[in-house]
């Protein structure tokens, strides 16, 4: 069997468990630890049944043996409030942190757009932005790599059941973080993000609309091709990522209408917003793992953020 990079997942909730199920299929990542804080959490019990080492003592419960267990990559699927502390601790043990919380202390990473930059920068912490950001920023980038985009706007519509209490308590964080990444990663000079929550039953599949305003008249053929190429890139890790309609051209406006269906590993298929986060997190880890296995990315040289 080919060598794999060992990983730990912090946070045994819905996201952490879905990530675990995806990681168990990975050719490059081997999940070995699940870290929680509640000994009765079903996610911890499930991970233990799957043969992972588990602790309910938080990151501190894993730290003493983490190095000996060979953990080189950690995923944080907890909350923004505890992320910074978790990240500091695992970085000290020489492990890379992939942040699925909105804490955003490390650089934003949207795999098909800027993962290579994150690799090149040797970051010890990368942030996966938000679900809406993962679903839409590739499309903003698909336009901005063709011609300059003065304004990028994304509208993410998600089912009520797929929005957890953390997001609900701080929905401004979603709009701010996503808008910031539309600029920094998407390449729009000004970004705006809107989230709409819909309680319909059966739950609607995540849908996303992306509007770009270009400085000059849109080069329709080049943008169509760029968008199709980018959709194919995202489909490599989220097969249910679909361009439903568009690009629609209306003056300098370019609009794309997307649907994101999840794989349905642990989370339901309609929750494409959560699936794209776990898939993007794993995709990021795999790209780092490839570099690590090839000896091009050695942990002791990790720069602190």
């Amino acid at each position: 069997m080919a060598e794999k990079i060992k990983a730990a997942i912090i946070g045994p909730g819905n996201i952490g468990t879905d990530l675990l199920m995806k990681a168990l299929r990975s050719a490059l990542i081997e999940p070995v630890w699940m870290v929680g804080v509640d000994p009765d959490s079903p996610g911890l019990l499930r991970a233990a049944e799957m043969g992972l080492k588990v602790t309910a003592g938080g990151v501190d419960g894993m730290l003493p043996t983490m190095k000996a267990d060979g953990v080189q990559i950690c995923f944080d699927a907890t909350s923004a409030y505890v992320h910074a502390e978790n990240s500091r601790k695992v970085n000290e043990q020489g492990a890379l942190m992939i942040d699925l919380t909105p804490a955003a202390i490390g650089p934003y990473c949207v795999p098909p757009v800027n993962l290579k930059d994150a690799l090149a920068a040797g970051s010890s912490n990368v942030n996966m932005v938000t679900c809406g950001g993962q679903a839409t920023i590739p499309m903003v980038a698909a336009v901005s790599r063709v011609q300059s985009v003065s304004y990028g706007e994304i509208v993410a519509t998600v089912s009520s059941k797929s929005v957890g209490p953390g997001t609900r308590k701080n929905i401004d964080e979603f709009t701010r973080t996503t808008a910031g990444a539309v600029e920094m990663v998407g390449g729009a000079r000004k970004g705006k993000a809107i989230i709409v929550i819909n309680p319909a039953e059966p739950p609607l599949i995540m849908r996303d609309t992306i509007h770009c305003l270009t400085d000059d008249e849109p080069d329709q053929d080049a943008i169509r091709k760029s968008v199709d190429d980018m959709v194919a890139e995202v489909q490599k890790y989220v097969p249910g990522y679909r361009l439903k309609n568009g690009p629609v051209f209306d003056g300098n406006r370019v609009s794309m209408f997307m649907e994101v269906e999840g794989l349905g590993d642990f989370l339901p298929k309609y929750a494409g917003n959560l699936d794209i986060m776990t898939a993007a997190g794993l995709r990021t880890a795999e790209m780092f793992a490839e570099e690590m296995l090839a000896g091009r990315f050695s942990l002791p040289t990790l720069a602190s953020v």
Binding site: E153, N170, N198
Partner: protein, 342 residues
């Protein structure tokens, strides 16, 4: 119906909900003259922002002629007695917008969520209440759920610090008995000191009637719009409501002739189209669709050659909620494709 002596606070919407009907293009001069007229007529509360609230400026909802800051500054400067309110939809606007509005002199913040999603309003309602603002929790599309569920959501908003809860008929769909049931249960279940409001759209011509029913059932704040200027077939036409309340001896505090003059001389002349119950706005009320979808559906229909009524009925069938304007072009494209038009 005996409403004699009941005290009602009226809240004008023409400079906020009316922005939908004007595609957010009301000029600063128009805002100022209408606000001044309303103030002189005794209107206690006037809402001013983009139609979709603070931060609504976007491709999705439309770019306004001026920023929220510019509108608020202009209006706050011309009113003597009226208080100015601002709407905020979490997911669109943020607490930064809220602070900006308060700094400019807005004293009432209305935090609006879909009727089942009150828990996204905690940080905004909490902040507004903490700042000492008149803080309103505004539950939209309340025709989509039962009265008991509305009460649960209203209690969440009350617990975050809202001193007033609105039951909003965003689609203009509710029948008088449904309004009565919702308001009466809210009145029974919320704290006695929590105020209760009702916001109508006139799509089934029930704005005035439903507002009276709401007052009878325990609401003390009523939204409306001078000359009805608002999304869909507009809001409850305030000058009409005032005339009716006058005859019913409701204590509303408005000068009837002055508000009639504002409607006739200032608001009606700025309308792009008459605010009336046409085929499409009637469809909103009949199919239970968010009223500000109206002009988007008309434009998509014209662009893609499908019927706006078909678009609106389908949006209702899919149980779309406020804010999903982006769905309209997407759906029109699907319909045009299915019919071989593109």
């Amino acid at each position: 119906m005996d409403l004699r002596g009941k005290k009602v606070v009226l809240h004008d919407m023409c400079l906020r909900d009316g922005m939908h009907a004007k595609q957010h293009q009301i000029s600063l001069e128009q805002m100022k003259s209408i606000a001044k007229g309303l103030d002189e007529a005794g209107m206690p509360l006037i809402e001013v922002t983009h139609g979709d609230g603070l931060g609504g400026s976007s491709v999705n909802y439309g770019f306004p002629a001026h920023s929220d800051e510019e509108y608020l500054k202009a209006v706050v400067g011309v009113v003597k007695n009226a208080k100015i309110s601002a709407l905020l939809l979490p997911g669109i606007g943020t607490v930064d917008h809220l602070k900006m509005a308060a700094d400019l002199g807005v004293t009432t913040i209305r935090v609006a969520t879909h009727c089942t999603e009150a828990d996204v309003s905690e940080q905004h309602i909490g902040m507004a209440a903490q700042m000492g603002l008149d803080t309103v929790g505004f539950l939209m599309m309340t025709h989509m759920i039962e009265a008991e569920q509305i009460v649960e959501q209203a209690k969440l908003m009350e617990s975050y610090g809202a001193n007033c809860i609105y039951c909003t008929d965003s689609a203009g769909y509710l029948l008088p008995d449904q309004v009565k049931e919702r308001i009466a249960l809210l009145r029974r279940e919320l704290k006695p000191e929590t105020e209760l409001g009702f916001h109508a759209h006139h799509n089934l011509s029930l704005g005035v009637m439903n507002s009276l029913v709401a007052v009878e059932a325990g609401a003390n704040r009523i939204d409306g719009s001078v000359a009805g200027l608002g999304a869909g077939a507009g809001n409850t036409p305030l000058e009409v409501l005032v005339a009716v309340m006058d005859r019913m001896e409701v204590n509303h505090g408005i000068d009837l002739y002055k508000i009639m003059d504002v409607a006739e001389d200032l608001v009606t002349p700025i309308m792009d189209n008459p605010i009336r119950i046409d085929r499409d706005s009637l469809t909103l009320g009949y199919a239970g669709v968010y009223s500000s979808f109206l002009l988007f559906a008309k434009r998509a229909a014209a662009k893609y050659g499908v019927s706006s009524r078909d678009i609106l009925v389908e949006l209702g069938r899919r149980r779309t909620v406020g804010g999903q304007e982006d769905m309209i072009e997407d759906l029109a494209l699907d319909m045009a494709k299915a019919r071989g038009l593109i």
